[in-house]
Amino acid sequence: MEISKDLYEAILNGDAKKAHAATEAALAAGAAPMQLIQESMVPAMDEVGRLFEAEEYFVPELLLAGRAMKSAMELIKPLLSASGQQMRFRIVIGTVKGDLHDIGKNIVASMLEGGGFEVIDLGSDVSPESFVAAVKDRNPQVVCMSALLTVTMPAMKLTLDALETAGVRAQVKVLVGGAPVTQQYAREIGADGYSENASGAVGLVRNLLAAA
């Protein structure tokens, strides 16, 4: 459908205004909100992800595409809520306690959003208690934790312990990442997954949720 193609192109080119306009036009023409997500937005972001993987896109192009998708979602979300629908999967993400670095986490959050997930970004320096509260209150399927310092990595384990103690560990998949974090460390602390880069994180989330 031509209007959906406009939205696809607008997201691919990172043009938020055009994405907004194309969404408005599509909805006015009778397109179903979920159809726009599934047929235009997610495929566009998949292509953006592919171009990024192929080193044809840098992060700015990726984030601009995510911003364009967000501008379209501003129109679509209220319609989904009104019809009792919601995004299929929800992810809580944050940089762990004691760590103020958030660029990597922001990139992952943006890519996950672009991948069609609802992302709740808790920010940086997030305590185990805040992660637990977010899991209880927002009911996500996935929790992503980031750390850039070797001395804040242990907060990942503390957070996992807190989720366990609160009795909510089994209801979420927990992913970890950040410069000093390794696959081995992820295994040692009992995380469900590790990705060494942002684009890998999206694939990892999809695989984990598909297997769940």
Binding site: P60, I103, N106, I107, D125, T150, V151, N197
Partner: protein, 464 residues
């Protein structure tokens, strides 16, 4: 002995104007500090930087934390004396928890100074301790830079570390980063220019007047310098990961020199921070000695400037290494050896009249393999330094530095020395257009970007 006075200096002309004067080991304004150390007077010294392995820092582990620092200092100085280094600087970069609780940072400072004093007394080793508290002022959104508990703790940390034995105070300040992070990630050049040319210099001027005043109150402490680590090194690392264009990282590096220069305008005397790859530009303009890091800092991060980074250094650093076991020994000791041999080679070259040749080989080996290296050559350094001093305000200086860096990269491409991918070429053109479109006056840029970035920063923190 402190040479620091709280004066505001301006730099109408570079302290170094001739290429042959811009080389490792020599600075027009050598610095005496610590225990008999003179930096920039002909000899390159290792600056060893070290940190903890994965370890939670709290009351329960504090005894283990101290034991690590005792061990690291002992091992580093053992290797330094075994290799007969002519002098050494230890850098203690506080971890956030150690700045949050200033007494902790001071306690580690005292431990390290005790080790340095002992080795100085026993072996007459010239040495100094650089202490770098964490800039923890970004805890609130937007960050409050001049008021509030984080600033008070940071200031207290600086004071206590000065009292506890620091010889050089430094910081990697974050003023402007709240805007720069977002602008960089979106490749938004006006936002980058705003952060680097307007916000960061304003915070630097305020923060460094404070740091210099602390050093004046502690006469044995030198006001070292700052680093654009949170700005240009972020760009460098993201470029390394193919997340940002290298040409953008190269231009950001040159532009970031202006905000780092502000520390010297406020009375800092160096040595500049090791991770401040903009250091050569600072050295060319101020004549103050600089610390640099490159190939021997791969324990901390990768870079495309491993050799060229040492071409103009006065201290040569490893950036940061964890206290973990290697086959040879613990990593801080192993990296002390690496640095010691790097410095030996540079100092032997100087002793045999080969310093310029070695400088040029180190330059040539990297220069045209990356745009980020291209803007770090001695010739590029002088050109960017000249562009900066040709303008009067930090904003205009920042734009001038960006233009100079862009021209250097473009000329390298045109001469077919520097080869860029198609995507990098596109970004080169994009940056050129963005630079051309920047308004001449900073007030105009501030107004233009108010809607986009106004919510990210606290105006009072920047005197706006």
């Amino acid at each position: 002995m402190s040479m620091t006075t709280p004066v505001t200096r301006s730099f109408a002309a570079p302290a170094i104007s001739h290429l042959d004067q811009l080389r490792f080991g020599i600075s027009p304004r050598p610095l005496t500090c610590g225990l008999g150390l003179i930096i920039g007077a002909g000899t390159v010294f290792p600056e060893v930087n070290f940190t903890l392995p994965p370890l939670t820092i709290d009351d329960a582990t504090w005894i283990d934390v101290k034991a690590h620092y005792e061990e690291m200092a002992q091992h580093i100085l053992r290797r330094a004396t075994a290799l007969a280094v002519p002098g050494i600087v230890l850098e203690f970069e506080l971890l956030p928890a150690m700045t949050e609780r200033p007494e902790w940072g001071a306690e580690i400072t005292a431990i390290l100074k005790r080790h340095l004093t002992a080795v100085h007394q026993k072996h007459q080793l010239p040495c100094a301790l650089r202490v770098t508290p964490t800039d923890i002022r970004d805890q609130h959104k937007p960050p409050l830079l001049r008021t509030g508990e984080p600033w008070l703790r940071l200031r207290r940390s600086l004071e206590l570390c000065a009292e506890a034995g620091a010889d050089i105070l430094s910081i990697e300040s974050i003023g402007g980063k709240e805007v720069h992070d977002q602008a960089l990630m979106f490749g938004d050049f006006p936002g980058i220019a705003f952060a680097l040319g307007i916000l960061a210099p304003r915070d630097m001027a305020w923060l460094w007047s404070e740091i210099v005043s602390i050093c004046v109150a502690h006469p044995s402490v030198v006001a070292g310098a700052d680093s654009a680590c949170g700005f240009a090194n972020t760009a460098m690392q993201l470029a390394h990961q193919k997340m940002l264009p290298e040409v953008l990282a190269a231009v950001v590096r040159a532009m970031s020199a202006v905000r780092s220069l502000v520390a010297f305008a406020q009375g800092a005397v160096g040595p500049s921070k090791d991770c401040a790859y903009e250091g050569p530009i600072i050295k060319a303009i101020t004549g103050c000695p600089i610390s640099m890091e490159g190939k021997s800092a791969s324990c901390a991060h990768f870079s495309p400037v491993g050799n060229i980074a040492s071409a103009m250094c006065d201290l040569w650093s490893n950036e940061s290494v964890q206290n973990v076991r290697l086959l040879s020994g613990n990593a801080p000791e192993a990296f002390t050896e690496l640095l010691a041999y790097d410095c030996r080679l540079m100092n032997a070259a100087s002793a045999h009249g080969g310093a310029l040749a070695l400088r040029d080989w180190m330059t040539a080996s990297d220069e045209w393999l990356s745009p980020q290296a291209a803007v770090l050559s001695p010739a590029a350094t002088l050109r960017i330094a000249g562009a900066i001093v040709s303008e009067e305000t930090p904003y205009r200086q920042t734009i001038a530095a960006g233009r100079a860096a862009l021209d250097i990269v473009k000329e390298g491409v045109a001469a077919q020395k520097l080869h860029l991918s198609r995507k990098e070429h596109q970004w080169l053109d994009r940056i050129a257009s963005a630079l051309d479109e920047l308004p001449a006056e900073e007030a105009s840029l501030i107004a233009t970007l108010e809607e986009q970035y106004g919510g990210l920063y606290d105006k009072a923190s920047y005197g706006l």
